[in-house]
Amino acid sequence: MSNKPLAGIRVVDLCVVWAGPFATMLMGDLGAEIIKPENPLVWQPMTRGAMARPPQALLALSNAWGGGLPGNVPGPRPWNYSPTFVSLYRNKKSFTVDLRRPEGMEALRRLVARSDIVYENNATGTMEKLGITYDWLRQAKEDIIFIRVPAYGSTGPYFDARALGVHLEGVMGHTLLRGYDDDEPSSNTAIYSGDYLAGAQGAFAAMAALWHRDRTGAGQLIEIGQAENAAAMFSQAIMDYSLNRHVQSTIGNRDVHGRAPCGVYPCLSPGTAETMEDRWISIHVQTDEEWQALVRVMGSPAWAQDGRFTANAGRAQHYREIDAGIAGWTRGQEDYAAAHACQAAGIAAMPVLEASRMFADPHLRARGFFRTQTQGDAGTHEYAGPLWQLSETPVEFYQPPVMFGEHNDYVYRDVLGFSDEEIERYRAGGHISMEYDASVR
């Protein structure tokens, strides 16, 4: 651990839902110590799950990543094994404290005094209500770095608009720019690409602030207006409006840079979309030579040798006709086999994988991508690996997805320096627990 890039950096993680926890996870992967204060008396929706004690019926009605708990039962401590939660909480520590009470804030103050970074992405006003402001943090630690992720920034008419990533992507234009080119916007599925971008760039921002602090001695407040941060993802559409006043709309699975064909085609399937066993391949031809190669891979059918398709402009114009022809070929193919055949001919093509199939992919196996983690309440499972490999300071999953209050003893005793008497007082006061209070739904 000692030589990891962020070894020796301590982060207080006041994050919720997805965007914030992704940032602190990446910092943890780089060696920072991430400590998450959690409250046994308050449920934070969509972080450790939808509810502290979800009824069995809710699990079945939820998305798999919300309701797919081990063995499909709520079990004794559902907050420790929501799939969304565990996907973001390796390499982090958890301790419990009620920040609504003065002695809870005193514990936080002591933690901040021993930390480098405080990171939060709560709804606007949440931190202020608790009394956690940049000024308060600076009184605890003069050079603290405070990173905040308000949806639309801390100023302007939308400053307190409530939003998940999916809502602000609507405002930034993404929802009208994506989806089928012959269907309603309501045929779009909720996605969270903006949480990815803000999370990764939050970790980047933290390091930028550390560089600044190490050279000037000064900490600072950083504001990631999440909507503004997401804008880069739509660069082509934004720049087309900026330069030409063109208002782009969705083009489905086609290429924003105009190279055709580019689409998703049906393959031999062991089941249906309802059983989640329908199979698809995406194929993207980028040059006229690649088109000729694809024609050969498909067995040189007569329709594909039409002279209108020789040059890209013609293929782009007649894309529906070409897509129908390609689908006629892929319908009789296994997705992986067709992809390997295309790749052997120099054409970009891969199966569209349903998530469970990643665990059987030979390339990911050969790369040693998956990591086995054993967590007390969840058991032993394989998880997706880190986002990058480092040659000298490999990313380790040294702490499995953290259980609620798992590090109470470590944090209160070793980090905060509390005495046995103080710890007993906090325990008696309901601050220290590995269970949510029975009153918490």
């Binding site: 063995g71 234009g173 916007p185 489905g252 924003v256 995406s282 891969m350 390339h363 998880y383 997706a384």
Partner: protein, 384 residues
């Protein structure tokens, strides 16, 4: 002084993922030296172009991806080109490249080449599937990659094909992940004196990413449940995308706070006690009944009017803006988000500004995207 002032990055990347990662470093102060082949970065050939005219200095995409960088043209197939590269590497902290794996080694400028030029240098390699493994040499584009490694399978209608994100959004996600790895390498080198390599596989930045894919994989591990493709059409109380008088609004998960929704609607029907019971709210017939009334409420308001009511009542909501709506919106204008940059060929160009606001040491445009080879002479004669 900007955060990465004094850091020198030798940028051998092209297209989108690599240049976006190095742009973040450049926009926060690093001196990024963009090494281009004689024909230039392929992004120079990608639309949109100013005036819809293909021109190597008029791609809006290239412009946005390469602000604050200097361009040097080197032909790495020649002895001179490699000598120039070695000279630049001697003064650099980090080299970033996204050639197909093995390409730089074949040209004689792999990791050992850079180590010899500069024993303290770090190197970040970005590729589709990583530097080893059976798919090492496979091609991928945004669609192909996102379909394979991202959560595209669940996007769209159950009875139709999966459908991807807009533009090349997935590549910007990967570029952001690569920027974290780059900053990690620089930070490790400065704090601990570690010179090392990073292998960033674009595929792995999606398999392990926050946008549903990692969680969907774990859900299967835990429960055997797979994730179904399903559109976000209206449902819940409310949830999903609703039509309004002049377009659409997204109310995904807005029903989590039922009391706020009642306040937002402000009509008597919404206060019906049957709609407030948490278990009853899962009943599809009741949801349909509720939505039949809510849709009327929506259709009698514009997207901005709906959002105003939602903001007042603290209901999660987002109107579906066009890029024009966004460009003209007073909130982002008022916050100073849009920035105008002067370019020698295109003139003034308006671009989205800072990705985040630092009180000190933050985002700034010091120079526009470089013309092809604009800084070749100054970089090769004066050194770094």
């Amino acid at each position: 002084m900007q955060a990465f002032d004094g850091v020198t990055v030798l940028d051998l990347t092209h297209h989108i993922v690599g240049p976006y990662a190095t742009k973040l470093l450049a926009d926060f102060g690093a001196d990024v030296i963009k090494v281009e082949p004689p024909e230039g970065d392929i992004a120079r050939t990608l639309p949109p172009f100013q005036g819809d005219e293909a021109h190597p200095e008029k791609s809006g995409l290239f412009f946005l991806l390469n602000t604050n960088k200097r361009s040097v043209v080197l032909d790495l197939r020649t002895e001179d080109g490699r000598a120039g590269l070695a000279r630049l590497a001697a003064g650099a902290d980090l080299v970033v490249e996204n050639f197909s794996p093995g390409t730089l080694e074949r040209l004689g400028c792999g990791w050992e080449f850079f180590r010899q030029a500069n024993p303290n240098i770090c190197m970040l390699s970005i590729s589709n599937f990583g530097q080893d493994g059976p798919y090492r040499d496979y091609k991928a584009t945004e669609l192909v990659m996102y379909g394979f490694a991202g959560e595209m399978y669940t996007m769209g209608r159950t009875d139709r094909e999966p459908v991807k994100m807009a533009g090349t959004a997935a590549l910007f996600e990967s570029g952001s992940a690569a920027a974290v790895a780059a900053a990690g390498l620089l930070t490790g080198a400065r704090r601990h004196g570690i010179a090392q390599r990073a292998d960033v596989a674009i595929a792995e930045t999606h398999f392990g990413g926050v946008d549903r894919r990692h969680a969907a994989g774990i859900a299967y591990q835990f429960s055997g449940r797979r994730s179904q493709r399903a559109a976000g059409a209206a449902g819940g109380m409310p949830s999903g995308i609703y039509q309004v008088a002049d377009g659409y609004v997204d109310f995904t998960n807005a029903g989590l706070h039922a009391d706020r929704v009642v306040d937002m609607i402000g009509e008597e029907w919404a206060q019906d006690s049957r709609y407030q019971d948490p278990l009853a709210r899962m009943n599809p017939a009741l949801i349909d009944e509720w939505n039949a009334q809510f849709i009327v409420w929506c259709l009698s308001r514009t997207k901005r009017e709906v959002w105003t009511e939602a903001r007042r009542a603290k209901v999660m909501c987002g109107p579906l803006f066009t890029v024009q709506d966004l460009f003209e919106d007073e909130h982002f204008r008022g916050r100073g988000f849009w920035q105008t940059v002067e370019h020698p060929v295109m003139g003034p160009v308006e671009i989205p500004g800072r990705p985040f606001i630092m009180q000190e040491g933050g985002w700034a445009i010091r120079r526009p995207a470089p013309l092809l080879g604009q800084h070749t002479a100054e970089l090769l004669t004066a050194g770094v």
